[in-house]
Each structure stands twice: as structure tokens, then as C-alpha cells.
Symmetry: C2
Subunit: 360 residues, 2 copies
Amino acid sequence: MAETSPPQPAANGRAKGKPRGGKRVGIREIAAQAEVSVATVSMVLNNNPKITGETRAKVTKVIDQLGYRPNRIAQSLSSKYTNLLAVLMPTLRHTMADPYFGELISGICDKAARLGQKIMLEHAKPDFVREKRHIDLFDRRYIDGILCIGFSDKHTFLGDFAERGDLALMVNNVGFGLDHVVCDYASGAEQIMTYLLQLGHRRIGMLHGSPDVYTMRQMMDTYKKSIASATGGEDDTLLVDGRFTEEHGYTATSQLLSKHPDVTAIFAGNDKMALGALHCAAERGLSVPGDLSVVGCDNIQYAAFVNPALTTVNTPLYDTGMLACERLIDRIRGRKRPVAEVLPTHLVLRDSTSLAKQTQ
Amino acid sequence: MAETSPPQPAANGRAKGKPRGGKRVGIREIAAQAEVSVATVSMVLNNNPKITGETRAKVTKVIDQLGYRPNRIAQSLSSKYTNLLAVLMPTLRHTMADPYFGELISGICDKAARLGQKIMLEHAKPDFVREKRHIDLFDRRYIDGILCIGFSDKHTFLGDFAERGDLALMVNNVGFGLDHVVCDYASGAEQIMTYLLQLGHRRIGMLHGSPDVYTMRQMMDTYKKSIASATGGEDDTLLVDGRFTEEHGYTATSQLLSKHPDVTAIFAGNDKMALGALHCAAERGLSVPGDLSVVGCDNIQYAAFVNPALTTVNTPLYDTGMLACERLIDRIRGRKRPVAEVLPTHLVLRDSTSLAKQTQ
DNA sequence: CTGAAAGCGCTTACAG
DNA sequence: CTGAAAGCGCTTACAG
């Protein structure tokens, strides 16, 4: 539309080809119309301070008139940046549908949009890693930097980034010589344990995920320390693997309660496992929190809407995503100092916890 | 590593500059080493059938040796494709954390990866649309095509794509002159209603979202038709707006039950609202399904793990995402025929539904 | 079946 | 403060 309405000298001279509306306007046409060189137009486009306000105004006017939009492929080929960032995550079942990843990515996307960057999604499937496609992302100039979420110590390919000097930042994980932004899961776990102990619970089970995951290790260590200092003993059979999912949280709880009927509280390493625990308790006719207290971690969206509403730790995932994205961009733009940020967590009290049934 | 190990004639001659490992290898070096022209290398890269098996082998060998990776920015500038697709969605609160979008996007990403395409994420914020950045995506050559998810009739800017001839495909929505891939929500709703009526329910409330949303309209129409034909009457006060969320599903249920204590079943237009309904029922001391049957829609991941496990309609969101992505790529690659696909849905029976308390 | 050349649409030194 | 020219690294007609 914009191309047909302005009273422009009809370009009928060379009417051949050109499907509709004629050739796309390029930087050359802008330069010609504005009576400057293409270099000047380019500098206006890139907000180069060398350009006079007057020149800028003149060029900007022509750009608006002709509806010129710079080709970002050409821009990237000539310049150093693609203005594209990747988010890399493991291939869990339907990763994107997980509220944990979702919150993180929401934060990342919002911040990226605000800073004029685009976000690309990548899954680190086995063949992806085998074929070194994570490296291709940089070598083939897809992206300027990468955000890694959901990985564990086992994902050693992450070390490739640091080795090659590619800009990568890990979220809720540390190591591999990379920058990181993490939530304070250790403090979160400590707050939970303190709270449960205050309520009189002594037999507290834990639903954990793989200890290869940094944040989970933090929580497990804190849990063990708390138990040890409160009860003077330790009992590893109170720790069961719920593999981060509702399904396994359910079966793990089932095992735990069968082996230890005296357990009065369960600390789940994430809300999904806690949901599995609630489900298991309901099925066994145990009232929560009457017979059993359950607490989760992360405070994902539906934690407030399960029955009973879940007491949990709020990890600021959205903000974590925002910060991670911002810091990565800092690095791309030249920041030298490595990034290592920790965001605070806090307890969210709801209806799944109460005083222990019988204090020992 | 690869660059230091092979016993290559030391390139010490021009030792200046070049931070580490020397200059990145380009198509020119490959051509030189393989003793062919760059055009030939390019053709090998693009699997051009004109190339002899012999030539191909020779060139491929050199490529592998030198670890050459084509610069995709340069490729895109010379060719017609970016091999990048965008997923566009509205800005709901933390959209990505929503299982509905998550499942869809998981399917899209997996299919895209398999077909060698990359996926970019975009949110249609007010300023995004105002500044016509959805058009920029094409004009500035970010992408080859776009997948639109989560939109309603109100999002008229979607019409811009068809008008400009840009390749766009809508998921679970029709109109705007665009291609579409949708789940059969009408059939899903019909299955639900038939089932509830069979169970003896006559006073059935519905939690709906905006009727501007195509799929919701399908369900509402089906609901009304079912009620009318089963009871001979209609009562619009049985329809309450739950705005697709747990929160509003909760309050809508509260309203509904206050106004109509005789309601024995609730059909929620999505699982999130159903979850709100379950929560509300629990708080009012109503047993589900004893006092009240509740059914949702979509069968999102945690629907099986809430208390009680939710009866719902399975909409194959993951597969829908896969198909949508595949069809969009078909179009990019030249398919002329518009895409209009409908995927079947089916009822998933769980524990939130049972016979009506008292049949009238 | 392969090669030499032009061109994609920008940015970036380098002069002036 | 601005311009002319080279170059980013490929692909694509066009010859041969």
C-alpha cells in the first residue's frame, strides 16, 4: 500500500519483470533521494554519532517516505553481529511445555525483545551434540551468544564453548568455564527445612532429581545437613529419586511411604514431584496437610491451584531469564568480567503444610 | 584442535594479526585445495545433481579435512532462503510457561530441527504490532515463514500477511486468508456433552474463554446445541467466562455454583479453567465427582496428576505443532495449494466425572 | 559437467 | 562531517 499511494514519478520506464510494486528499495535508493552517500545512510541507520542532526533528519525523512527497511542479512554479513541469541536445552519430553523452562524462556524473550535481539530455540538431542551442531551455531554465524538451561554435569559438550571462546551463559548451573546466573536453591532448601522443623517434623522425606544437576545437589546437601543437625543422625533411605516429574514423584512417594509410614513431611525438589506426592497421598487416603505435609520448589504457575494449594519456594525464574539474557548481551557488547549472579529465593506458605501430627 | 593437529605446511609466512588459529576457512580455500572452482564447491554444498560423484567426493573430502562450515549469512544473502521460521504468539502472562503453547512449540521445534530449519520466537506485544514489526520479519529478511498460535478474531493485523503475500499459517484458528491446522474442538466438545448427558447430567455449566477465539466458539456452539436438544431449553446464565486461566476458572465456578446450586457438572473449555473449578469445589466442600463432575479440554501434562485426575479431551497439540511446521515448510518450498488440516480429538476418561447425583 | 564473473545489500576503514 | 571503494562469503545465471 505504502508503495502505491505516494505521488511518485512513475517508474514505468523499465516495466519488465518485477512481479508487483517494483523492486524493493535499498540503501542506494535512499542515498540517491537524500543526496548523500550510502555510507552516510548506513551511519544514520546505525546511529553513528558522527552524523549531523541535519543530515540525519534529511535521511530519516527519505527512509520513512520510501518505507525502507534494512536487510538484516546484508547487515550481518558486513558487520560483526547477527543479533540472534540461541536458547539451548536438553530434550526432555516436550520441554517447552514445562513451566520451569517456560518461565525462564518467557523472561529471556521479553528481555531480548526489549534489547532488539531475536531468540532462537535449540534442543540438544543426541545427534545434535554428536554432529557438533552446537558449534555450528557459532561457526556458521547463526548466533552471537547462547543461553544454556536445564543441563547437568553430564553434559560435557558445554565445555566446548569456553574452549573455543564462544559466548555462552548457563542458567541455574555452574561450571564448564562458563558464565552463570542462578537462583539460590540452597537458601530455598534451608528455608524449607527450618520451617518444617519448626512445625515439629522430624521424619522428613525428600523427593530429589539427579544430583548431577547443580541446583538439585545444592538442595540435597542442605537437606542432609539440616536433618543431621536436627536429629543427630542421617538416613539415606528417606531420599528417593523422583526424577523431576509428576509420574516419578508419585511412585517415589509411594515407595517412601511404604517403607517409612512414620514420615510426616515430604520435601520435593520441584513442584512437579510435589504434585505427584499430593496425588499419591490422596490415593492412599492420607490427608494433606493433616497426615502429611508436602512442600515443593519453584512456585510454578499452577502450584497455587492444586489441592491443597502447595507450599513451595519461589525461585524467580522469569527474572532469572531476564537477567541471564541481559548479561549475555553485555558480554556480546564487550563486557570483559565473567558473569556470576545469584538471585534470592523465598518461601511461599500455602495449605499443604501444618504442624506435625505427633511430635516425637 | 582440528586445526593444529594435521601435519599441514606451517602457515607461518604471514604470521601477523590473526588472533588464534588463523583465518576462518572459506569456500575459496576449499576450491583451491580441491582444485575446482568455488561454484563447484557451492554446488556440492547444495547437493546440486549436476555434480559428478567423483567431484563430489573430492570436494567433500577437503571440506571434512579443513572442517569447513559454510557461513549461512552469506548463503542467505545470495539465496532465497533464511531457513528460519518464526513462531508468533500473543503476550499473555508468561506465555511460554503455558502447557498449551508449550506442547505446540515442542512439536514445531522438533519438526523444524528434523527439516533443517531454525525457529525464532516472537511475541505480538502492542508496540510490536503498532510498529509493524511482524512485517519487518519478512521485509528485513529474518524469516521465510511464520506460524501464528493463540490468536483470536480481534488480531486483525494477521490480515497483513495474506495481503502482502507473506507465508503464514495459523494453528487452531481460521480466517484472515491464511493457511491453518486445527484440532477438532467441535467434536471434542460433542464427545464431552454426549458423555455427560449419558451420565445423567442435565444442569451442566460451561466455563468458557473469549468467543473471539475460534476453537472456543466451536466448543460453545456445540455446548449450546447439545443442551438445547437434550433439555429443550437454553439458559445462558450457565455459561460463565473463565478467561482461559486457573484464577478466573476458579472465580467463574464460584459464581456459577452460587447462582445455580443445582449444577451437577461443569465443562471447562480448557484444563486450566477446569483446575480452577476443582479448586473451587474443594474449597466449598463439594466432592468431585460425587457432588460435581468436572471435565476439561486439551489434556495438558498435569491433568492426570491433579486431585481428582481430570477427565478431559485430548487435543493432539504436539502433533498439531509438527504438522503445522511441516506444512508451512511445504509452502515455502513451493506448494501452491492452501493448507487446511483438521486433527481428530478424543475423550480421556479419568476420575473427575461420574453419574449425576440425582437424575431429574 | 565445470569455470569466471557478477551480484546479493549492507558496513567499514580510509581519504578528504 | 561525508564520500568512493573494497569487502563480507556465498549463489546463480551464463558460457563453454
